[in-house]
């Protein structure tokens, strides 16, 4: 997998000194509910090559930035001019259309299949260049180049690291013939493009989870007729069965240091959360209750585990602190809260929430204030997974009779559905930042 992302980055070091010294000035403060997304225009990039390129980099960058909800992206149809060089920029044109930031670029063919892409980011009001970089790659990884450019621009404008160059995995189920289903574990770009199958089988496959170094996944497979937990190495496709007790073997979640897996086993009678140390293979039982305890997930500091339990009568989310085993209930609003996932800063808890209308939706609870907001307006929502920079939650939902992936920003302002793929799509898991 590593070879896929092989970009030679040549920073031209043309940052204006005043900008470089005051980077945080540019950061758009992400507050609860930005009503006025910042207007940004990405002008179609120039191309000198003889044959048409397979991907439109400017379009991908524009879509990436637009999905975050922070930016209002200008449709090229509304652009008054199409500059590709600094000298061609008439700031007045862009001020008239209320554009605040402008991206222009050039795609230059190089030896063989190589390509060089130069892009520049401008502050229209200040008439200043903020960023100028040259990215080298091949014509086969134009999407990687585009996502890299998106990451650079996003970070410049928000002060937050971009997560467009990350990947997602998800599970699809496709029926064929009488009662036969093909289950696939797929990996795609963070925008759903370029899906590839990394595991295919005729028995269910579920709960994919990324290791924090991005090199491997854990998941649950029924290939033996019973659930078992497997680890699959992405580079080689090599697999390892790590747990298969009698009863449930499920819900694997990697510890932040990558050395442990929180898992759910029912070998002692009912579902309990355990921590499996992958180095010593020792198993420590974490929860003790006759109810259902499942769906563990680690806090970013590795000091606590959040999990779903119906010990109070209905599924709610709890947190257990590992050093002390102190237990606290986290969610109270709604009659079904489950499968919690914390943002990378530990402040927000995304979950599946059912309120008074009895519809399953994605909600976020601010752990500082206790405030819970329902983010989605879809139906049968499941499996929230958060981008490594906390910007977007991906989740599984239903569109018509088909399972699809939806996305929503953490503030609920922007919602989108990822491009449909074949079969029923479910259980997205967003990768960490990839090297």
């Amino acid at each position: 997998m590593k070879k896929v992302f092989h970009l030679l980055i040549m920073s031209c070091a043309l940052l204006l000194s005043s900008v470089a010294s005051a980077e945080s000035d540019l950061a758009i403060e992400i507050t609860q509910g930005i009503d006025e997304p910042t207007p940004v225009a990405v002008v179609p990039f120039a191309w000198d090559g003889s044959s048409a390129l397979k991907e439109d980099i400017a379009k991908i960058v524009s879509a990436d930035l637009g999905r975050t909800g922070l930016f209002n992206m200008m449709d090229p149809k509304n652009m008054l001019s199409f500059p590709t060089q600094q000298a061609q920029i008439y700031y007045r044109d862009w001020r008239i259309s209320k554009t605040e930031f402008l991206v222009i670029g050039r795609q230059i063919p190089a030896e063989g299949n190589q390509i060089k892409v130069e892009f520049e980011l401008y502050d229209v009001l200040k008439e200043q260049r903020l960023l100028s970089e040259r990215v080298s790659g091949t014509q086969d990884n134009l999407r990687d180049i585009a996502h890299y450019i998106s990451d650079m621009i996003y970070q410049k404008l928000t002060g937050i690291r971009g997560a467009f160059s990350t990947r997602i995995v998800y599970v699809t189920a496709q029926q064929y013939g009488e009662g036969k289903v093909s289950y696939r574990l797929k990996m795609a770009d963070s925008d759903g493009a370029r899906p590839i199958t990394i595991r295919q089988q005729s028995e269910p496959l579920m709960s994919p989870a990324w290791a924090r170094d991005g090199s491997k996944l854990a998941y649950v497979s029924f290939e033996s007729g019973r659930p078992a937990i497997y680890i699959q190495y992405l580079a080689t496709g090599k697999r390892e069965k790590v747990q298969s007790f009698r009863g449930l073997n499920g819900a694997p979640a990697w510890s932040p240091d990558g050395n442990k897996l929180a898992i759910v086993l029912s070998k002692d009678g009912n579902p309990e959360v355990y921590v499996l140390d992958l180095r010593s293979r020792s198993l420590a039982r974490i929860t003790h209750h006759y109810g259902i305890d499942t769906e563990p997930s680690w806090s970013p500091d590795g000091q606590s585990i959040i999990f779903t339990s119906d010990r109070g009568g209905q599924p709610q989310i709890y947190r257990i602190y590992l050093p002390t085993r102190q237990l606290e209930r986290v969610t109270y609003e709604g009659n079904y809260n489950s499968r919690g996932r914390l943002t990378h800063d530990g402040r927000f808890l995304a979950m599946v929430h059912r309120g008074d209308d009895n519809v399953f939706r994605i909600a976020v609870q601010d752990l500082k204030t206790g405030r819970l907001d329902t983010l989605t307006d879809t139906y049968l929502d499941e499996s929230p997974t958060i981008a490594p920079n906390g910007s977007i939650i991906l989740y599984a939902t239903q569109k018509g009779v088909k399972g699809v992936l939806g996305g929503v920003t953490l503030d609920g302002n922007v919602r989108f559905i990822l491009p449909a793929t074949s079969g029923d799509v479910r259980e997205p898991a967003w990768s960490p930042y990839l090297q």
């Binding site: 007729g225 009698r246 259902i292 499942t294 769906e295 079904y336 599946v352 399953f360």
Partner: protein, 171 residues
């Protein structure tokens, strides 16, 4: 579909019972093979609570799918009679084994539904054990919401998917 499954189940039951009868020089198991060859004696016996459980044909014709209410794992009363007959058969045939597959409808989260499916399978397992079946004859496997019997997002689909399927692995 159902009829053909029943036919297959009977055929499987007969062959398994025959093999079991051959391989054991035992005492009680031989009733299995005699009953198995007697294909015509289904009806009258089922009313006889004391001995009905050892008849192969009775088990083959019993209900094997048991349904549950939403978020519930209580075995419903309409399944009691047939479950008692399964229990009687298993108790009378200690080498017989069943798998109880627990399932949930699609609502709620997948791993929680795995736990719910297991809880349902275990409720049926407990019912069998209370009625004299040894724990070693029963295995509970949950498939959560991963293997719906019926596709669709309606109450009627969901009610058919909240189920435990009892499957004989050996008789």
């Amino acid at each position: 579909m159902r009829a053909s499954n029943v036919t297959k189940a009977v055929a499987l039951a007969l062959s398994v019972a025959w093999v079991a009868g051959c391989s054991t020089s035992g005492t009680t198991e031989s009733t299995g093979s005699t009953a198995g060859t007697d294909t015509g004696s289904t009806q009258g016996v089922s009313q006889n609570t004391g001995v009905s459980g050892s008849s192969m044909d009775d088990v083959a014709n019993l209900q094997t799918v048991f349904y549950f209410d939403f978020d519930q794992s209580v075995v419903k009363a309409d399944g009691f009679a047939d479950l008692e007959k399964h229990a009687a058969y298993l108790a009378a045939n200690p080498s017989a084994q069943v798998i109880l597959e627990g399932h949930a409808d699609e609502r709620g989260t997948r791993e929680y539904n795995m736990a719910l499916g297991e809880r349902r399978a275990k409720a049926v397992s407990r019912f069998l054990q209370v009625n004299g079946v040894s724990g070693s004859q029963v295995e509970s496997i949950s498939f959560g919401e991963e293997k719906p019997a019926v596709l669709g997002h309606s109450d009627s689909s969901w009610s058919q998917n909240r189920r435990v399927e009892l499957k004989y692995v050996s008789r």
